[in-house]
Symmetry: C2
Subunit: 105 residues, 2 copies
């Protein structure tokens, strides 16, 4: 599993519209092969920022599968105009985890 | 639920030692009231960086409970010397989520 991560900075005043657009567009990404989990969270210290986290089976499910899909254009059209600047998206591979919502520790 | 997030940049060459220290120290944070989940992931594009994600019941469980606890000093002693520079830690409140590992979409 890999985690796609980015801090999304939204055009001022467009936060509510962005959340509506993401709520609608989430089904696009969730239908992709290798998709596991999407979480979009609003900044507490900086409310114009959102933390984007997407879990994929493999790096290529995101970088080749999703970004190379015909549906990616719909995602881009729905969301990319909210970002200023365009976010840096990076990928991470989990090495340590404790999940108290599943495991007992 | 809130998400604590930070990009941890590790002193060059200390990545393996950091992972061992975090593996050992994770039980400190996992024992805190309000702790839900810890995930530490290594950068794919930048292997000297790690994504720290911690889910807490409330913001105060992290900022007051954990940081104000006597055990926080053990966490700090075990880990903080690996960071260069010291990371910016921010908090986010989930607004949109799809979890295919739980739900059907």
């Amino acid at each position: 599993m890999i985690v796609e991560q980015g801090i999304l900075r939204i055009v001022p005043g467009e936060e509510a519209a962005f959340e509506l657009a993401m709520e609608s567009a989430k089904t696009i990404i969730a239908a992709m092969p290798g998709f596991r989990r999407l979480q979009v969270s609003r900044g507490i210290e900086a409310s114009e920022t959102y933390l984007l986290l997407v879990e994929w089976d493999t790096l290529e499910d995101h970088t080749q599968g999703f970004r190379g899909s015909v549906d990616y254009e719909r995602w881009r059209s729905a969301l990319h105009h909210f970002y200023d600047p365009f976010p840096v998206i990076e990928h991470f591979a989990p090495v340590i985890e404790i999940d108290r919502t599943i495991d007992k520790v």
